[in-house]
């Protein structure tokens, strides 16, 4: 494990995660959650850091990251809007809500606006069918959101990543926009 290679807070979080859970391998997901909250997504150096600081192979880190939808290794905007497309939400107009957002933002589901402000994603049942159509913006619930009231999701105040990581190259920015 290196001393100065990674941001100080990452080293602290890795230590804290290892100390919290008696079994070292359980420290990976708590660590990734903290970096994800800070950066908005998991840039490549975060995955290297996880492997290095937690004593795992990068392959293992990748295998875990690729399994879970909240762990995104593609550049993601400062504001992630999840629209629930579960059955109850669909019955309440979630598809139209999604279409309205796509039209307003000029992107398709799965993409990020060019300025990095918003990523638009579909969510599987958010366990909030009482709020159908339900959404989350940076994991804060909102609902019911009538399809024509979609702007609420772009305007409501939510905690944003305090050290958001922009896409690293122009190619990556373009790829992000295409989704």
């Amino acid at each position: 494990m290196s001393e100065h290679k990674w941001p100080a807070e990452w080293q602290e979080w890795a230590e804290a995660s290892r100390a919290t859970f008696p079994n070292a391998q359980s420290s990976l997901m708590p660590f990734l959650h903290r970096v994800r909250t800070q950066r908005g997504w998991l840039p490549p150096e975060a995955l290297d850091a996880a492997a290095d600081l937690l004593g795992m192979t990068r392959q293992h880190v990748d295998s875990v990251v690729s399994f879970y939808t909240l762990f995104r290794s593609e550049a993601t905007g400062r504001r992630t809007v999840h629209v629930c497309l579960g059955l109850s939400c669909m019955m309440a107009g979630a598809d139209t809500l999604m279409e309205n957002l796509e039209q307003d933002l000029g992107i398709a589901e799965g993409q990020t606006t060019r300025d990095g402000a918003v990523t638009l994603l579909e969510a599987e049942c958010l366990a909030a069918c009482d709020l159908a159509p339900a959404c989350q913006v940076n994991l804060v619930y909102r609902g019911p959101v009538a399809p024509e009231a979609y702007r609420e999701l772009l305007e409501m105040p939510v905690p944003e990543p305090d050290a958001w990581a922009p896409p690293t190259t122009p190619e990556a920015r373009e790829a992000t926009h295409r989704g």
Binding site: T20, N23, S26, V64, F67, Y68, S88, M90, M91
Partner: protein
Amino acid sequence: MGSALPNRHYLLRQRDVADVHQLAVYREHGGYTALQQALQANQPDQLVELAKASGLRGRGGAGFPTGMKWSFLPKDGRARVLVINADEGEPGTFKDRELIEGNPHQLIEGMIITCFAIGAPESYVYIRGEFLHGYERLTAAIREAEEAGILGEHVMGYDFSHRMFVYRGAGAYICGEETALLESLEGKRGNPRSKPPFPAVAGLYGRPTVVNNVETIMNLPPLVLEGADWYRQWGTEKSPGLKVMSVSGHVNRPGNYEVPLDWTLAELIEAAGGVRTGHAVKAVIPGGSSMPCMPASQLDTPIDYESLVQAGSMLGSGGCIVMDDSTCIVRAVARVVRFYRNESCGKCTPCREGTYWLTDIMDRLERGDGEMRDLDTLLDVSDNINGKAFCALGDAAVGFLVSALKHFREEFVEHITGQRCPLGARQYDTVNH
């Protein structure tokens, strides 16, 4: 008619008591007296017997008797672990979210009582990654309990010590399956494990483990205070007690309802404000989207585990999705099979490939591009998934589809012969606003 509603909530206590998520308020209203009573009596085996006598069954989906589950732990002197499954994600189900956010101390109290009963020095809550608010509420409540001496060394001054951990999932429905959950809790991909060994023998980090649902364990504090007979005043002999039912879809007041288990589906829908004026119920999925649907003619079925099985469905997690006569069943099924395709972990071929094909065919049918032979193919593929995959996700993927083909076959046929959806493409947009 089912039994009368109790005059208060025993699980959704936040409905009666403001700010009950705060330790001071929870204690003011009798919180942690059940734990104190259990520790004072110092008879862990009696607590297991109490759970058995009450007939309490697991509220996560399978309905397995809770006390019996605890008694499967081998008596070999190893330290046990309790893991709470708070990875709620079954479409139509949203009870654990409200229970954790609103009444976290009752979960903590129930967990400590359970851990004292089974001899577990450690417990874990595996909470869905999307439940950020619930995670914050729960960790704050645990901190309060630690500072008050309710968790940690010598719980409430008694000879029992306990540590509690909260672990966040990160977006994977499959992690609600208990062995996938354990894999995830160990920091891995959430692929289900081979059974045996069952978690009771080799669970988290190989230790003897009990995995229980949030709602199940929240029943413990009132049970300890009031006793098994009290619990049995509601429900039936085999399905006693109260259940938090999540009601959603085309009802006027979607939400969670804490009701006796001998209520009928019709009574439950009535409690949720009934369906919209001018509409009638078409179909109901009583226990989350993994369960078969029931047509309106079966609404007088009681919601207890046995009656719903007899009627061809299951209580599952209690996520009751109500569809009125404006619903296109083909579109609803298409949405549900797509969910299972997206959430299949990919480990078993029948589930991974089968859900892909079902989604493909259902989308084609809904577009009006289907053929009659597709209906046989749907049943054939379903048959090749059902019971032929490692865990229950595959079975879950076909329940609604097969039941819809049984009860509403003519609607599938109309999509094929008319080459379009007879109800129109966007018939839902005026609902519930």
